[in-house]
């Protein structure tokens, strides 16, 4: 490679390669606290022949960054020499607010954090909180939560499918996937009242039971949805342009993926069979019969195949859950935690006192801490909550799968062309709300 000025400069001023295998380059000299210290002008070198590298921002406001991610790329012509990601442009202090809210008041925060998987987050938070309270939920509530989690996985993968297709150039799958999403939205809206910010669960149960006739709507969706998956499959899986644009990009071997802490489709595409529903089951997932798709090469094409297969497996789980939905109460009848029904609260004195205590102070968990991981569409998601006995958690930590998945982007992107950066970034399926919390 022609010795560009920078490599010459690097050879002079630095001590070789750092552990990341990059030329250790002395910055403009920073002191301990990070502010720059004045340094004298390096001697002028003769102009070299190689092309100059260019620093460009694929910045906060960009159609392909799926939110407000900013990637600073150092480009040699079209090849990415180095990628420096900047996150934090959507940091809204979720974890700080969590320490000022009661447990049932935190549920609306879990929708807005990973807004593609909002009802899935509600389920994850409710499970974590019930582990903290030491509660066992009713059978009907368990199956309803499995239905909610799988519906949420489907709509999250559909947004990923739509936006990835737009990034790589196919616009029609975006309209197909959003058409299917609207059907799921109508289901969620009739159940919970909101399309996107569902806030569907409470500690110890659900906000509302499903209206009658909802199961027919769900069965209709389960019947019609695989046709759309097959349509997209026919259009993309063996499409020469799609395969040409995605094969061999951003490859992560199994060892690297595990070491980088990737999770979900990113990890399974590299061949590591880790699915929280199978390895650390919750909501009786072990009683459902479904498969976990595993890729082999860990590139963008494998992630596409894994997510498409996961859509089909989710439909399979929904089918089994719809068949086995038992009757019975949705909420635990433990007055310490769940509001008594309005009729009882108005009639007998004790329920009124419980109702008053619940509303004024909110349920109080025993002192302790709990972390329950859930298989969210992006990966291993969980809420680590520490409680000191008061009605507000001491610490409400969100384990962000996209944040850890995205931290591997410099390794995946360097060496590829600029247009591949967009395809790799789309394959990670990032949601900035969850990354920046």
């Amino acid at each position: 490679m022609a010795t560009t000025r920078r490599t010459v400069d690097v050879a002079l001023a630095t001590t070789g390669l750092d552990e990341r295998g990059r030329p250790v380059r002395t910055p403009l000299v920073t002191d301990a606290s990070g502010s720059a210290i004045a340094v004298e002008e390096p001697p002028m070198l003769e102009p070299e022949l190689g092309g100059e590298h260019m620093l460009i921002n694929i910045g906060p406001q960009h159609p392909a960054t799926h939110g407000v991610l900013r990637l600073v790329l150092e480009l040699d012509g079209e090849t990415v020499v180095r990628c420096i990601p900047h996150v934090g442009y959507l940091h809204c202090g979720f974890e700080k607010i969590g320490e000022y809210r009661q447990y049932n008041q935190i549920v609306p925060w879990t929708d807005r954090e990973d807004y593609l998987n909002s009802i899935g987050n509600n389920v994850a938070f409710a499970l974590g909180a019930e582990r903290l309270f030491g509660l066992e939920i009713t059978e009907r509530c368990t199956v309803l939560r499995v239905i909610a989690a799988e519906l949420s996985r489907i709509i999250s993968h559909l947004v990923w499918l739509g936006t990835t297709c737009i990034d790589i150039g196919a616009f029609t799958p975006f309209l197909w996937s959003f058409q299917e999403r609207e059907k799921v939205y109508t289901l969620l809206e009739s159940w919970v009242g909101a399309r996107l910010t569902t806030s569907a669960t409470r500690v110890g149960g659900m906000a509302a039971d499903i209206p009658d006739g909802w199961m027919d709507g769900l069965r209709a969706f389960i019947g019609a949805f695989p046709k759309t998956i097959d349509e997209v499959d026919r259009m993309l899986t063996k499409n020469a342009i799609w395969v040409g644009r995605t094969i061999g990009l951003g490859t992560m071997t199994a060892a690297e993926a595990t070491n980088y802490g990737l999770s979900g489709p990113m990890l399974r595409a590299s061949g590591v069979a880790y699915d929280v529903r199978k390895d650390f089951p919750y909501l009786d997932y072990e009683t459902y019969d479904f498969d976990v798709p595993i890729g082999t090469n860990g590139d963008v094409y494998d992630r596409f195949l894994v997510r498409m297969e996961e859509l089909r497996q989710s439909v399979r789980i929904l089918q089994q859950a719809a068949d086995r939905l038992p009757d019975g109460p949705v909420n635990v009848d433990d007055h310490r935690v769940v509001l008594p029904p309005k009729s009882k609260a108005m009639s007998d004195m004790e329920s009124m006192i419980h109702h008053f205590k619940q509303v004024m102070e909110g349920p109080r968990p025993p002192v302790g801490e709990a972390y329950l991981a859930v298989e969210s569409p992006k990966g291993e998601k969980g809420y680590y909550m520490v409680s000191d006995g008061t009605s507000k958690p001491v610490r409400w930590r969100i384990r962000p799968p996209s944040f850890v998945n995205l931290s591997a982007i410099p390794k995946m992107v360097e060496g590829h062309l600029l247009s591949d950066v967009i395809a790799i970034n789309a394959s990670i399926d990032i949601v900035m709300g969850e990354i920046d919390r």
Partner: protein
């Protein structure tokens, strides 16, 4: 003979007039309100570092030149194709058809020679590795 060119000239005239009209009108009615930020480069909302007018590596220029060469080669095919019937007939056509037995290979041979020259250039470029991107 000149009359057959009239429609093309009319079309070209209309196109030029239309372009001048659009650019001129918008130039006249435009009120430009320049501010320092509006003048600076837009790079996804972040002040840009360094400017884009830099020296790029030579391989971009090479690919562009090769494209132009082989593109113009195809451009020459079009008139040849249109006139091919006349070319490959020893005697002038009889109401558009070449009398039997008079078909000559002149038209084809002429283009093959032209193509051969370019194929030699193409093989040279291929072997030199100019088509290799990185």
């Amino acid at each position: 003979m000149s009359r057959t060119y009239l429609p093309v000239l009319l079309l070209m005239g209309f196109v030029v007039f239309n372009a001048i009209l659009m650019i001129g009108l918008s130039h006249l009615t435009m009120r430009s309100r320049p501010t320092p930020v509006k003048q600076s480069a837009y790079e996804s909302g972040i002040p840009a570092l360094g400017e884009a007018r830099e020296r790029f590596s030579v391989k971009f220029y090479m690919v562009a030149m090769l494209f132009i060469i082989f593109d113009i080669e195809t451009v020459f095919l079009i008139p040849w194709g249109a006139y091919f019937r006349n070319l490959s007939c020893a005697v002038p056509l009889v109401n558009g058809v070449c009398p039997s037995g008079q078909v000559s290979l002149f038209g084809l041979a002429e283009m093959l020679v032209f193509m051969a020259i370019l194929i030699v250039g193409f093989v040279y470029v291929w072997k030199k590795g100019a088509l290799q991107w990185d």
